[in-house]
């Protein structure tokens, strides 16, 4: 996946600028705006990705939409990206920026899957526990998934905290198979 390497570099550049000039919140908000706009509007995305339109045209479009709503640094950044012919990666650059921002601010996004809806008290407890383990501020998003059967599975980035009944049953099943192996 070549695009992630490239996007990361662009995202790093605007991120470092934001940190240096102490404008992280403002620029983060701009990036979120651009990200949201591209993700929710198919036509905007097709225009940006399409190789048919000339860079000046794309720049004009982006300028018209965003220039009044974003800071000057972000505007320059968009100009840079278009000039380097990497506008197709704008969405991915914004995603990478969010990752960098979260890492810098010590925020982690946790996705919690449980079979039944959790009460606020329970949710807060999970949040606090995860915060303590990871030493970061946790943003929680909950999903109901009957497959879990009971308990919950919390996923933060690439680490899973599995306190579900399904997992225990899986472990049980593996124990039965230990004596005889038909390696799949």
């Amino acid at each position: 996946m070549i695009d992630t390497k490239v996007s990361l570099r662009y995202a790093c550049s605007i991120f470092q600028l934001a940190v240096e000039e102490n404008k992280l919140t403002a620029i983060a908000a701009d990036i979120d705006l651009i990200n949201g706009a591209i993700k929710s509007h198919k036509e905007l995305r097709s225009v940006i990705i399409s190789p048919i339109f000339r860079p000046e045209v794309k720049l004009a479009v982006l300028d018209k939409i965003f220039s009044s709503k974003i800071s000057i640094e972000t505007q320059n950044f968009i100009k840079l990206v278009v000039r380097k012919s990497r506008e197709a990666l704008l969405e991915s650059i914004c995603d990478k920026f969010v990752v960098l921002k979260n890492e810098h601010l010590g925020i982690a996004n946790a996705e919690i899957k449980s079979a039944y809806s959790l009460s606020d008290v329970q949710l807060n407890e999970i949040k606090e526990k995860l915060s303590a383990i990871l030493n970061k501020k946790i943003n929680v998003s909950v999903k109901i998934d009957k497959e879990v059967i009971g308990g919950f599975i919390a996923r933060v980035d690439d680490t899973i905290y599995d306190a579900s009944v399904k997992h225990q049953l899986d472990v049980l099943r593996k124990q039965f198979y230990k004596g005889n192996s038909a390696l799949n």
Binding site: K5, D158, T159, I160, L172, K178, G179, L183, N184
Partner: protein, 516 residues
């Protein structure tokens, strides 16, 4: 599947349920991007180690081989059709390892240590990583104890020592596996009380079958069981239908199990049958992982593949227990071409080779060993004194015979000396022929070669030589058993014994009848 007893189920369930609230598993995960041909590309798993074991859904395991900037290349130890794109991959946090222990003896297992002989679970205490660095120089000592293979031709002229690597190389159907199996069966003596009294340590055997037909492996296991050799042998089977990654790690698993015995001061023998198929499966893996192909499409590190495997066979120094791991790798050549890529690689790594030839095999010389080009670089250090005394002239006589062999067609036109050399040589070749699964103990080999080398057989018909040997050995056992006992216990051929032997041969010759 083994019967699960009713109380086992409820006991386990009770245990699981009571421990239920307290168990929260924390594991790292990744997502499968692409899967096919036994390879999976995974995104995520940022903290995974190289060669770590990872778990896919449906009980499929994989090993991480390629660590790239934003994805990981894993090989699957199972069917790739059980893994889909988007599946979650879990770290097991352990480098690919296998269970080791004495409980492995007598079992048939997969390269990951799981039993496939239907005899139930194997309870072992330790897990050792499959890939381990070989020992350094200080930890080793030179090879000095013999490993008796029970094959007269090998033990006399191409002796193998404990801790040596001896390559068995030849075309297909020349008896390579037979030599290896005979070596295993001949270790039965080392597990007896008699050998303990003589100060000979037991040798545990490991037979690694790589890419072979399952029917062949089954036959081997049956033969070993029949000869009582299974009790000290482990068979690691990665047969032809197993995925290439399993065939790739099979020899390393064998080496790991062997190292367990070696490091606890015991002796082990590991047989890799065969490394040509091992190289082929590694080539398959590397090409699918998009590693650049080299000569014959093998990847660039195919030498390292075998050198790190064979370097693990060694003799430990006394401070570390004096254990040893002997390796007998097997390579199959195509039409006798020993200068192909893989054979030359392995020949340069091992401490000698036993070369088996098709034309020798077809003309009835079995084991079909070509003594001229077979060599053991350890040589005399791995032989008992008695054998050294008789084998010295054996090699010379056979070499002279070979040089003159092409003249044997004109036998009547040759001078007496040449005729005698030819006669003696032919009888020696006949003497060294041996049946399968019939290893000969070293004292009997010494006596038999003594007769041949000292020209006692020259007046016997060629077709009677084997019968003479058999009957003479029985005669000695019945009437002069002290000869065998002396050779066994002193490991030497003392002058009085030689004198006794000479008189015994002369006595026997008088009564030996020619066959009709």
């Amino acid at each position: 599947m083994a019967e699960v007893r009713p109380d086992e189920i409820s006991a386990i369930l009770r245990q699981q349920i009571s421990g239920f609230e307290n168990e929260v598993d924390i594991y790292d995960v990744g997502t499968v991007l692409q899967v096919g041909d036994g390879i999976a590309r995974v995104y995520g798993l940022k903290n995974v180690m190289a060669s770590e074991l990872v778990e896919f859904p449906n009980d499929v395991f994989g090993m991480v081989l390629n660590l790239e900037e934003d994805s990981i290349g894993c090989v699957l130890f199972g069917e790739s059709k059980l893994v889909k794109e988007g599946d979650t991959v879990k770290r097991t946090k352990r480098v690919t390892s296998m269970p080791v222990g004495e409980a492995m003896l007598g079992r048939v297992i997969t390269p990951l240590g799981l039993p496939i002989d239907g005899k139930g679970d194997i309870k072992t205490s330790a897990y050792l990583p499959v890939e381990r660095k070989a020992l350094g120089i200080i930890q080793r000592q030179p090879v000095k104890e013999p490993l008796q293979t029970g094959i007269a031709a090998v033990d006399s002229m191409i002796p193998i020592g404990r801790g040596q690597r001896e390559l068995i190389i030849g075309d297909r159907q020349t008896g390579k596996t037979a030599v290896a199996i005979d070596a295993i069966i001949s270790q039965k003596f080392t597990h007896s009380e008699a050998s303990k009294a003589l100060g000979i340590n037991p040798v545990y055997c490991i037979y690694v079958a790589i890419g072979q037909k399952s029917s062949t492996v089954a036959q081997v296991v049956a033969k070993l069981e029949e000869n009582g050799a299974m009790e000290y042998t482990t068979v690691i089977a990665a047969s032809a239908s197993e995925p290439a990654p399993l065939q790739y790690i099979a020899p390393y698993s064998g080496a790991t199990l062997g190292e367990f015995f070696r490091d606890s001061g015991k002796h082990a023998l590991v047989i890799y049958d065969d490394l040509s198929k091992h190289a082929a499966s590694y080539r398959e893996l590397s090409l699918l992982l998009r590693r650049p192909p080299g000569r014959e499409a093998y990847p660039g590190d195919v030498f390292y593949l075998h050198s790190r495997l064979l370097e693990r066979a060694s003799k430990l120094s006394e401070e570390l227990g004096g254990g040893s791991l002997t390796a007998l790798p097997i390579i199959e050549t195509q039409q006798g071409d020993v200068s192909a890529y893989i054979p030359t690689n392995v020949i340069s790594i091992t401490d000698g080779q036993i070369y088996l030839e098709s034309n020798l095999f077809n003309s009835g010389v079995r084991p079909a060993i070509n003594i001229g080009i077979s060599v053991s670089r350890v040589g005399g250090n791995a032989q008992i004194k008695a054998m050294k005394k008789v084998a010295g002239s054996l090699k010379l006589d056979l070499a002279q015979f070979r040089a003159l062999e092409s003249f044997s067609k004109f036998s009547s036109d040759l001078d007496k000396a040449t005729q005698m050399t030819l006669a003696k040589g032919a009888r020696l070749v006949e003497l060294l022929k041996q049946g399968q699964y019939a290893p000969v103990p070293v004292e009997k080999q010494v006596v038999s070669i003594f007769c041949g080398v000292n020209s006692y057989l020259d007046d016997i018909e060629l077709r009677d030589v084997k019968r003479f040997e058999k009957e003479f050995l029985e005669f000695i056992e019945v009437k002069y058993n002290e000869i065998y006992v002396s050779i066994r216990e002193t490991k030497d051929l003392k002058d009085e014994i030689v004198a006794k032997l000479r008189s015994a041969v002369e006595e026997f010759l008088k009564s030996f009848k020619k066959s009709a």
